[in-house]
């Protein structure tokens, strides 16, 4: 309905292959970015920033990572949280052991270490597929947190493996207020999103999808399956690693290995299922959904409790959450296997063709 595509013709491939090809889309996205960078910091309360927006962004990053591996390269992973942990602890060690290293380098370092570990646990994928691989990634999920506790060097000799991150400074600015944290993370997320988009529209992205859709055919036309899979693990783990670092440094401030447990992995998996497997946009949707749902639920339950003047224990609330999450996952897989992102793109198509159905 709002699309006016006449005259938007492409006279070069670089324009035709641009990230956003329709000027209305460009406008929308830029407006959105501008809004979240320039307006949100002023209107959002600290509660919103710290309890909703910041975790949303962090999880978006993690979901993006998992989506690259599972959504694009088709390799199911249940060890996301473990790779986040690696990122967090690696970044922490860079910060405390490398004298006045810029935070960004610590994050990147964290990402790279995570990538390395990711490749290590990705190695089985060279021999095994599907469920076997999924189980293999569980090994990471159980092994890594244990290692982080056992080897106290990682947590700078904290017996329970807890790390408390040093204050973050960026070119002299101390990033400690919710707003500054929010903006800092937002920028990171935007940049990494663009990089992800670029990878996906390049050779490697096509190779990932090729391996996902039909690996034999892919190999036959000259795509090295092993390499492609490992790169997927590396890139995915890098994103998860950075997410973990941000999670530790800018969201929680102090984390323990057991915080990166299998439940966290599952939550991130749910994000991409609900948001949309194989869609960058979907990572955002999923993260938003899973971050907001519990809050929503609590409010509803609280409301009910008040309304019916009964007391509902927090235990029940969390149990209800489990139940509803589970139901939602099944519901989405049945009704819209491609998640919210698909709904979004359908809506977009409808607007483009309006008033016609096709």
């Amino acid at each position: 309905m709002f699309y006016r595509e006449n005259g938007q013709f492409k006279i070069s491939y670089s324009k035709d292959q641009a990230l956003l090809t329709i000027s209305q889309d460009k406008f929308f996205i830029f407006a959105l970015v501008a809004f979240s960078l320039l307006i949100v910091p002023f209107i959002a309360s600290d509660y919103w920033l710290t309890a909703i927006l910041i975790p949303f962004l962090v999880f978006t990053l993690a979901a993006l990572g998992l989506n690259i591996l599972t959504g694009y390269a088709g390799q199911l992973s249940l060890g996301t949280a473990a790779f986040m942990a690696v990122g967090a602890y690696a970044a922490y060690n860079f910060q405390i052991r490398v004298p006045n290293i810029p935070i960004i380098f610590s994050f990147i370092g964290g990402g790279l270490i995570a990538a390395a570990v990711g490749v290590l646990f990705g190695l089985p994928s060279l021999r095994i597929r599907g469920f076997y691989l999924a189980v293999a990634t569980l090994a990471a999920q159980f092994f890594i947190p244990w290692l982080l506790i056992k080897v106290e060097w990682f947590s700078n000799y904290n017996p329970s493996g807890v790390i408390t991150t040093p204050p973050v400074t960026f070119f002299g600015f101390i990033i400690d207020t919710p707003v500054s944290k929010y903006i800092f993370i937002l920028v990171i997320v935007i940049l990494l999103t663009i990089l992800a988009k670029n990878l996906i529209r390049s050779k490697i992205g096509r190779s990932w999808m090729a391996v996902r859709d039909m690996d034999i055919a892919a190999e036959v036309i000259g795509i090295p399956i092993m390499k492609t899979k490992l790169i997927a693990f590396a890139v995915s783990s890098f994103y998860c690693g950075v997410a973990g670092a941000v999670y530790a440094f800018l969201y929680l401030g102090s984390v323990e290995p057991d915080g990166f447990n299998i439940d966290l992995s599952f939550r991130i998996l749910f994000m991409i299922i609900i948001g949309g497997i194989g869609s960058v946009m979907g990572s955002y949707f999923g993260a938003a959904f899973i971050t907001l749902l519990p809050i929503l639920l609590e409010n509803i339950i609280h409301f009910l409790a008040v309304a019916l003047s009964i007391t509902i224990s927090s235990a029940v609330t969390s149990v209800l959450q489990l139940l509803i999450f589970g139901a939602l996952i099944i519901f989405f897989l049945i009704v819209e296997p491609h998640g919210l992102a698909r709904l979004w793109s359908i809506l977009k198509e409808k607007l483009r063709l309006w008033p016609f159905p096709y």
Binding site: G74, L76, L123, P124, R127, I128, G130, F131, Y132, A134, V135, A136, L138, A139, F142, F143, W146, I149, K150, I216, A217, I262, F266, L269, I273, A315, V316, V319, L320, Q321, L322, L323, I324, F325, G326, A327, L328, I329, I330, L333, I334, P337
Partner: protein
């Protein structure tokens, strides 16, 4: 030496219980090609329901058992109807994720109905060393472990026989080989699935009782299933025998490692050791112990 044997036997015995859980996975995988991640949740669900009913309705052992069996059958049927059937012809990975959803659902449901507290479960055998073995060989073999092993063993064997001789069993194996073919020769796929899920539910119940009465019925039970996954890797997703032997191997290795390697690494290795062992195993035999090598037809 006796100590080593003691550990080994202990391991093997608890291994049988791994086999029991793994068996649940294998049954469903063979029949419907689904990696039922919810098996653990079913164990938990069954055990919690069991104690829940006992406590809340004061029923004695056998009636409760009956009720819960029926309950598990219902769960199986409903799962087939509302989860598997709508997702038929979807990629396996989708079904797998659906079972993860199911996991959360069952865990949530069970705790919503029966509460979240830990309950002891007593099936009348106390976890004490068997005297005469202690006297004869001076080895500590838990009577409970032995009992559990026997129960599990008999169950496993009877199931194996059940699937070898009965009509359903044969149908099941046909289904496992080729869904389309099975359909074409008039095997009612849906019923088969429902049955298999029910049986898996029953297996889960037994496993639940065993583990529950050992560690108490609590949320941690769900992790028992996770423990069983390495068993599957070694045994292969589609081999009953594999599940059994795999369970024994994992059980034994785990106990041995716990005793001999654990101290070196500062303990707590049982959480991951099975997995790493399985991984290493995989690198040598990707198709598992009994899984046959697949040739990609193109």
């Amino acid at each position: 030496m006796t100590f080593f044997l003691e550990v080994l036997i202990g391991g093997l015995l608890s291994g049988v219980m791994y086999s029991l859980v793994a068996l649940g996975f294998v049954l469903i995988y063979k029949a419907s090609g689904v990696f039922n991640f919810a098996q653990g949740a079913m164990v938990f669900f069954a055990a919690l329901s069991f104690v829940g009913i006992q406590i809340n309705f004061g029923l004695s052992f056998w009636p409760t058992l009956m009720v819960v069996i029926i309950l598990m059958i219902i769960v199986g049927v409903l799962t087939e109807k509302f989860v598997l059937r709508p997702l038929v012809n979807q990629p396996q990975i989708t079904l797998f994720m659906a079972t993860i959803g199911l996991t959360f659902f069952l865990e949530g449901l069970a705790q919503l109905v029966w509460g979240t507290d830990v309950h002891p479960l007593d099936i009348g055998i106390e976890d004490a060393p068997i005297e005469f073995i202690l006297d004869r060989f001076d080895m500590v073999i838990s009577a409970f472990d032995l009992f559990a092993a026997i129960i599990s063993g008999t169950l496993v064997v009877s199931l194996a026989i059940f699937f070898q001789v009965t009509k359903i069993g044969r149908a099941l194996r046909a289904v496992a080989d080729d869904h389309q073919a099975a359909l074409s020769i008039g095997i009612p796929l849906k019923q088969i699935w429902a049955i298999v899920w029910s049986v898996a539910g029953f297996v889960a119940l037994v496993a639940g009782l065993m583990w529950g009465s050992r560690n108490g019925v609590q949320f941690a039970l769900t992790f028992v299933a996770l423990k069983a996954l390495p068993v599957l890797i070694i045994g292969g997703f589609d081999s009953v025998l594999g599940a059994i032997l795999g369970g024994l191997i994992i059980g034994a290795l785990e106990k041995l490692a716990e005793v001999y390697i654990g101290p070196m690494l500062g303990g707590g290795i049982e959480g991951w050791f099975a997995y790493v062992a399985a991984l290493l195993f995989l690198l040598i035999r990707p198709e598992g112990m009994f899984g046959e090598k697949k040739i990609d037809r193109i």
